[in-house]
């Protein structure tokens, strides 16, 4: 039961932290809960579909079908987050400020919520499909105590969701004037995490074979399997033993999104300030 719970917790945690951060960053936007719930629902449904198609996916493209699907999911989510940071958030920030002054929810941000909802759906899909496979495998094995497994899986799922709620609630304590900066910073790091996993996938599928050596190994200090390692992975893309390529992708993604966002804010500043 405990082992089952831990595995489900690990799979749930990353998606839950992702959703917690996105939810905190969209606080105050009209209909945002509905959009994010839709994202979770679509992702959960997609997990079932993907899990049932895993045999077919695995045998695609001479055995790298999983990597193709994985890279597509990661890449699309990355584009959504980047677009949100660079293009939407400089506008949305102002919209929310204006709306708060008028004491109502910001309706204008809604037009872009679909991008974040899609990123949420993809995050749930990626972790969810593995969870579905794992749980379905357990249920089908004859020696399993099914109730114990089910309780363990539910416990792991709940704990993972609780961690997502904690980050959401924690970000709620951030002063409103800093909230946008903090959540945007976290979203940039989430994007970096996605990029780092794309790099890992590219090495694994042998699309890129250079820079596949370790950049460092701090597993003796914090291992990927420890709770701290898992939480830091979900929040900032921590990896105890990343490849050089992962590091390059992470750094290139975070700096270019950060740079483009700053650039966009400067360009918008004279216009949005005035009205």
């Amino acid at each position: 039961m405990f082992a089952t719970g831990l595995i489900v917790f690990r799979e749930t945690l990353e998606a839950a932290l992702f959703i917690g951060i996105i939810a905190a960053s969209t606080r105050g936007l009209l209909n945002r809960s509905r959009w994010l719930a839709l994202g979770v629902a679509v992702g959960a449904f997609g997990s079932l579909v993907m899990a049932s198609a895993i045999g077919a996916i695995s045998s695609w493209a001479e055995g790298v079908g999983q990597e193709i699907v994985s890279a597509t999911i990661l890449g699309t989510a990355l584009v959504m987050l980047a677009w949100h940071c660079i293009w939407v958030s400089p506008h949305a920030h102002q919209t929310v400020q204006d709306a708060k002054r008028l004491g109502k929810l910001a309706a204008q941000g809604e037009g872009s919520l679909w991008a974040l909802a899609l990123a949420v759906a993809l995050s749930v899909l990626r972790e969810g499909a593995e969870t579905v496979l794992f749980v379905a495998g357990l249920m089908s094995s004859p020696d399993a105590s099914e109730i114990g497994m089910a309780v363990g899986a539910l416990l792991g799922l709940s704990l993972g969701c609780f961690a997502g709620w904690l980050i959401y609630a924690g970000l709620g304590k951030v002063r409103p004037q800093y909230l946008f900066g903090v959540t945007n910073g976290l979203i940039v790091l989430l994007a970096g995490n996605l990029a780092s996993q794309i790099a890992k996938t590219a090495n694994q599928a042998d699309w890129i074979s250079s820079f596949s050596e370790s950049a460092w190994d701090v597993a003796w200090l914090v291992s990927n399997d420890s709770i701290l390692g898992m939480v830091m992975h979900g929040l900032i893309g921590f990896d105890a033993n990343p490849t050089q390529l992962q590091l390059i992708f992470y750094a290139a993604t975070t700096t270019s999104i950060w740079w483009a966002t700053a650039h966009m804010k400067n360009r918008l500043a004279p216009q949005v300030g005035g009205v």
Partner: protein, 93 residues
């Protein structure tokens, strides 16, 4: 990026949630194609932090994973879905 030497093909099976063989010796500094055949009815996820690989292998299915060239050393791997029994090590020397 060597096209110089052919990739070494290594075969591992998963049976009763264990890797067979669970210890594999390979030459260091060579690219390796790891073929994993899952003979169980349930899926498994091959995972290794030191090799930086993770891949789901469907029940009754197989997977191909490219690794290396490796520095000499021990690279542990495990089945994420059955971490208590499915463990193994790749020794590069």
């Amino acid at each position: 990026m060597g096209a110089s030497a052919a990739d070494l093909e290594v075969h591992i099976a998963i049976k009763d949630h264990k890797f067979e063989p669970s210890e594999i010796k390979v030459p260091a500094q060579q690219r390796i194609k790891l073929h994993i055949q899952n003979q169980d009815a349930t899926p498994e996820e091959f995972e290794s932090h030191s090799l930086k690989r993770e891949k789901v292998i469907p029940g009754g299915g197989k997977a191909l994973i490219s690794i290396g060239p490796l520095k000499p050393g021990r690279y542990t791997f495990f089945g994420e879905f059955h971490p208590a029994t499915a463990t193994g090590v790749l020794i590069a020397e």
